[in-house]
Structures are given as structure tokens and as C-alpha cells.
């Protein structure tokens, strides 16, 4: 390694930079998708709330754009020093991709500013044109994502005969489409939860009744989009994992049965918490519908069933750290494996059913919510304040989960920069422990929320504080 970055260590800094960049990128790619949809709905339904939602979210996106660029630069600089040889290799092999990426980022930035600054001038005449600019912004963002997914997925699943492979073969490697699908849906989920975060923060910091009503509605829409797309994510994740397993069965052993198996336990806990939190919010939402309280008992039962399904999901077959570590001295193996009569709970079949149950029960709770809505009207702004803390917890869980699964995807390469092709013999070649990974994810989540807090303060708090 030509240069290391003491005292943090080169890999950890690259990790923080890459993950923060990805989080902001996911937000600025995911949020505009439904900003445009909301703008369109505002025109179509003649409901000014959609217009305000789109505009206030776009204000946050514009500021988050700068942080996406800054964290991207931080990531690049930390990569170019310690990993210059490998970065050089990627740049040579993917030169047209990086060149196009740079060009498209430039165009996307211009389009993003045009979209933001023409909002007012095109508000009366030319709304359709303004929405078209938003669609163009999303198209550019999606292509940018697809390009970088090509580089990222190549490192884990390079095509056979890498040296002779064409650029298209490098990009269209065995896990590219799976990663594209998963990231596209996950970005919308994340965008939805981030809108809910913005809404909850503004709800809790505003004192006007009409603001409470609006931000309550905005938080509901954000959570709705986030949860609706979250339901699709296990399917997309399954497709992606299947592509990896078909590529190399040894990957599935490393991921699900060996060093990273406990990472998936934590994933089960986090995704279960995401679903439980979204359902708890739905339950609190039902309470603010006139006559909605009578549906609460049914939703509570569904919630309890979800807790049971989540417990099945995270039931491991054994409590050993990996495939080769011996049982602790003096502890018989039978004490740290699941009892025979409950062994079926540890199988994938049971876990698949448990995840399906969690999804089905979420849909059932939404049906209860719709049923309540059919019998009474919503008192926007009258929601229990606990709901707003749930809306802050949801993106926190999403950020941590994204970080965890990003780490799993990278660590799946083991001690390879490009799996089974270019070996990583730097001092950071090993898979870190789950404890260390959790610490890193905690830091990343805290820094991301601190930066988002800064954006919200600059965008909404500072102006309010300065006004008489």
C-alpha cells in the first residue's frame, strides 16, 4: 500500500466516504422520482399540498446534491492514495464509463438547477414543460446509477475471461441487473422515508396548526411510498442473491453460513424493525381518523403476529460465529445449536414464509387503515406525536440497513478486489468482525444524520430564526 491513512486506516476512510456518498446519492436519485410524481398529482388532482410537498423536498434535494458531490470527492481522494493501482486498473478498464459518468453528472447538475430555479417562472404557464424537465432529471440520474452499478457489480461478479471481455461484458456482468433492480427500488424506499424524516422534523419544530396538518400529511405520504416499495425489496433482494449464488455457490456459503451469516441475522432484525415501525405508524394514523379506534384492536393482533413472524425470520440454526470456529471449551455442541424439534424454524423455507407473512400482514393493516378511512375523515395534524419519532426512526433504520447490506456486498469479495481475479493483499484484506462493522455503521449513520440536520437547519430553521 503506497500510503496509509493513520490513525483511522485507509479501508475505514474509504468505507465511510463510499457509504456517505451512496446514501446522499440514493436520496438525490430516489426523492426526485416521486417529487415529479407529486408535482404531476398536484396539477392532476388540483391539490396544492402535493405541489408544496414536491417543492419543499426539492429544496432539501438541492442542498443534498452538494453533499453528494463533496462525499464523492472525499471517497475518490481516499481511494486514489492507498489504492492507486487498483483505482488505476478500474479507470483503464472502464474509461468510457467514467468519461460518460462525468459528462452525465455535469448535465444532470445543470438540469437539476434548471428544474429548481424554473419552478416559480413556469408555475402558471409551462407546468407540463417543468414536469418534463423533472422527468429528464430522473432519466439522467437513473443512467448515472446504472453506470456505477456496472463498476461495483463487476468487482463481485466479473465475467469469465476478464482480460478479453468487452466493455459491455464487464458492465453487463452476472449481477448487474439484480443490483440495478434492487437499488432502483431501494432508492425510492429511502427517498420516501427521507421525506417522512423532513416532514417529521418540521412537524415537531413548527407551532402553527396548518403547518402541523400539512407536515402530518407529508409524513404520511413519505411513509406510504417508503413502505409500499419496501414490500417489493425482499423480492428484489432474493433475485439479486439468486444471481450471486448462481454465479458461484461458494459465495452463498460465505454469505449465509460462514463469516457473514450473523450479518444476515442483524439484517433480519433491522428489516423486521422497519416493517414493525411502519405498521406502528399506520396504527397511530388510524387513531386520528374519526371512528378509526375500533380498528386498532385488529391491527394490534396483526402486529403481534408480525413480531412472531420476525422471530422466526431471525431464528438461527446455530450460535457459532462461522463455519470453522470450534465451540467454546467445555460447551457441548448441542447447547449452541437449535433443538431438533425446532430445527425447521432455522430452514430457509420457514424464513421465506415468515417474510411473506410480515409482508401480507402489512398489507392487511393497510386494508384496516383503508376500511377506517371509508367510515370517517382524517383529522390531519391531530396525530400522536410519537408517530413523528417513528418517522425519524424509519430513515435511521434504513440508513443502517443500507450500510450493513453494502458492507455485506463488499465483504462477499473476501480478500479480492475483483473476485477471484485481483487479490487484495493490502493490510486491510480481511473481513472485519460484526462488532467493528456495527461501529462503522453507527458512525456513518450519525454523520449522515448530522449532515441532514445541517441541511434542514440551513433550509428551514435558519430562515425562520432570522425572520421577525
Amino acid at each position: 500500500m503506497p500510503v496509509d491513512l493513520a490513525p483511522f486506516g485507509a479501508r475505514s476512510l474509504v468505507w465511510v466516504g463510499a457509504q456517505l456518498h451512496l446514501l446522499f446519492a440514493a436520496f438525490v436519485l430516489g426523492a426526485p422520482i416521486f417529487i415529479v410524481i407529486c408535482e404531476y398529482l398536484g396539477v392532476r388532482l388540483r391539490d396544492p399540498r402535493y405541489e408544496r410537498l414536491a417543492r419543499e423536498t426539492m429544496k432539501v434535494v438541492v442542498m443534498a446534491y452538494s453533499l453528494t458531490a463533496l462525499t464523492g470527492a472525499f471517497f475518490t481522494f481516499t481511494l486514489l492514495g492507498p489504492y492507486r493501482d487498483f483505482a488505476g486498473y478500474l479507470f483503464v478498464r472502464f474509461y468510457p464509463v467514467f468519461a460518460l459518468y462525468g459528462l452525465l453528472i455535469l448535465i444532470e447538475t445543470v438540469v437539476m438547477y434548471v428544474y429548481w430555479y424554473t419552478w416559480e417562472p413556469l408555475a402558471r404557464r409551462g407546468k407540463g414543460f417543468h414536469i418534463s424537465i423533472g422527468i429528464l432529471l430522473n432519466l439522467l440520474g437513473t443512467v448515472v446509477m446504472l453506470l456505477m452499478n456496472g463498476v461495483g457489480s463487476f468487482m463481485l461478479t466479473p465475467p469469465e475471461g476478464v482480460e478479453r471481455a468487452s466493455l459491455w461484458d464487464l458492465i453487463n456482468n452476472p449481477s448487474w441487473s439484480g443490483l440495478n433492480l434492487h437499488r432502483f427500488i431501494a432508492n425510492i424506499t429511502f427517498g420516501g422515508f427521507m421525506v417522512a424524516l423532513v416532514a417529521a422534523t418540521l412537524f415537531l419544530t413548527s407551532s402553527k396548526k396548518e403547518d402541523h396538518a400539512f407536515y402530518d400529511w407529508m409524513g404520511f405520504i413519505g411513509n406510504f411510498i417508503g413502505t409500499a416499495t419496501l414490500i417489493l425489496l425482499p423480492v428484489a433482494g432474493y433475485i439479486y442473491a439468486r444471481e450471486l449464488f448462481l454465479y458461484d455457490a461458494a459465495l452463498s456459503t460465505f454469505l449465509m453460513a460462514d463469516k457473514l451469516s450473523w450479518f444476515f441475522e442483524v439484517q433480519g432484525v433491522l428489516v423486521s424493525l422497519l416493517f414493525l415501525a411502519a405498521n406502528y405508524y399506520m396504527w397511530l394514523s388510524t387513531q386520528r381518523i374519526a371512528g378509526g379506534a375500533r380498528f386498532a384492536a385488529y391491527m394490534r393482533r396483526a402486529f403481534i403476529a408480525m413480531v412472531v413472524a420476525s422471530a422466526v425470520w431471525i431464528t438461527p440454526q446455530n450460535f457459532l460465529p462461522d463455519l470453522t470456529s470450534p465451540a467454546p471449551l467445555g460447551v457441548p455442541l448441542t447447547d449452541i445449536v437449535i433443538p431438533e424439534r425446532a430445527a425447521f424454524l432455522g430452514l430457509m423455507m420457514a424464513k421465506g414464509l415468515a417474510v411473506t407473512a410480515v409482508i401480507a400482514l402489512t398489507l392487511l393493516n393497510y386494508l384496516f387503515y383503508r376500511r377506517a378511512l371509508a367510515t370517517g375523515s382524517i383529522a390531519w395534524g391531530q396525530i400522536d406525536h410519537r408517530s413523528q419519532y417513528v418517522l425519524i426512526a424509519l430513515p435511521a433504520l434504513a440508513v443502517y440497513t443500507m450500510g450493513l447490506m453494502g458492507a455485506v456486498r463488499e465483504l462477499a469479495r473476501q480478500d479480492w478486489h475483483v473476485y477471484r481475479y485481483i487479490q487484495d493483499t493490502s493490510p486491510y484484506w480481511y473481513a472485519p468482525s460484526l462488532a467493528y462493522t456495527s461501529l462503522m455503521l453507527g458512525i456513518i449513520t450519525l454523520v449522515f444524520f448530522a449532515l441532514m440536520g445541517l441541511i434542514l437547519w440551513l433550509g428551514f430553521g435558519l430562515g425562520k430564526a432570522a425572520s421577525p
Partner: protein
């Protein structure tokens, strides 16, 4: 600044976590120093999907063959290979002593020549005696749970 009295505590937590996350200088790799400046080129390019342990479908076997004695053979169900993975037996009743020596629940399947039979699942640390009647021919043996067969839990059974 009102409502920000928690800020020093949060900063302290972040600082403490950051210090705890310092992993410099790392651990030298066994192959370090053989490659480029950042150690990127230590191994010769080795694309292809040959796994390090076990034997995925189609890959050469790493486990010895076994001949059933008196129509009975013991098969170790390990993570993730069968031991032995090449078995020879005489036509008629074949008894398998299935011993789960792994850390995950396993199973045993015999396929081919119109036969597709599965034994009951074998729990971790447990054994099972399973009998099946087979005509002469070559059969595939595997663990049918999840993708264990693709990970290497597969082999052949020749009945003569």
C-alpha cells in the same frame, strides 16, 4: 442556541466511536509484497468459478469413494459436502447411515432411473438409518435443502 444542550454529548459519542473504529495499521496479508504497490496484483489472474472447498456440481470430487458393506454405508453430511461422495452398492436394499457432522440441518436425496427419494431431515449432531431399494444403474446423491447441493453436497451412487 436553544434545544442544543445534547450536542456536546452527541459529539463525544461520535468522537469516542471514531477512536474505537481506528484499525490502522491492519494485518499483513500472507501474500503481501508479491504484487503491485498496493498489493493488487499478488495472484495470477484466475477467473473461473472453481471453489476452494467442497465440490460444486460438475467439479472434480475431493472426497474418497466407498463401497457399501453388506448393503450398508455410512454417509457423513458435512458443511457442505458428502463424505463419501462416490458410493458403490449392490442392487436391492441399500441402507444409508446418515450422520450430520455439520452445523446446519441436512438431508439426503437419491435421484435417477425413475427414482427420486428423500430421507427425513437429519438435525445437527444427529444420525438416521434410511433404507431404499434400488435397481442397477447410476444415481445422483445430494442434500436437497436450500442450495446445499450447489454448494458441494452432491455425488454419485453406482448400483451394480
Amino acid at each position: 442556541m436553544p434545544h442544543l444542550h445534547w450536542l456536546p454529548a452527541a459529539a463525544l459519542v461520535l468522537l469516542g466511536s471514531t477512536l474505537a473504529a481506528c484499525e490502522y495499521p491492519g494485518v499483513p496479508h500472507p501474500l503481501a509484497g508479491q504484487g503491485g504497490a498496493d498489493g493488487a496484483w499478488a495472484a495470477a489472474p484466475a477467473p473461473g468459478l472453481v471453489r476452494a472447498a467442497g465440490s460444486p456440481r460438475g467439479a472434480p470430487s475431493q472426497v474418497a469413494a466407498a463401497q457399501a458393506q453388506a448393503g450398508e454405508v455410512t454417509v457423513g453430511l458435512k458443511d457442505f459436502f458428502l463424505d463419501p461422495d462416490r458410493i458403490a452398492a449392490k442392487a436391492g436394499g441399500v441402507v444409508f447411515n446418515l450422520v450430520n457432522e455439520g452445523r446446519y440441518t441436512h438431508d439426503f436425496r437419491v435421484e435417477g432411473n425413475g427414482v427420486d427419494e428423500k430421507a427425513p431431515k437429519v438435525g445437527i449432531g444427529h444420525s438416521l438409518r434410511w433404507e431404499i431399494t434400488l435397481a442397477a444403474g447410476t444415481y445422483q446423491i445430494s442434500c436437497p435443502i436450500s442450495n446445499h447441493a450447489d454448494r458441494g453436497m452432491n455425488g454419485t451412487l453406482v448400483v451394480g
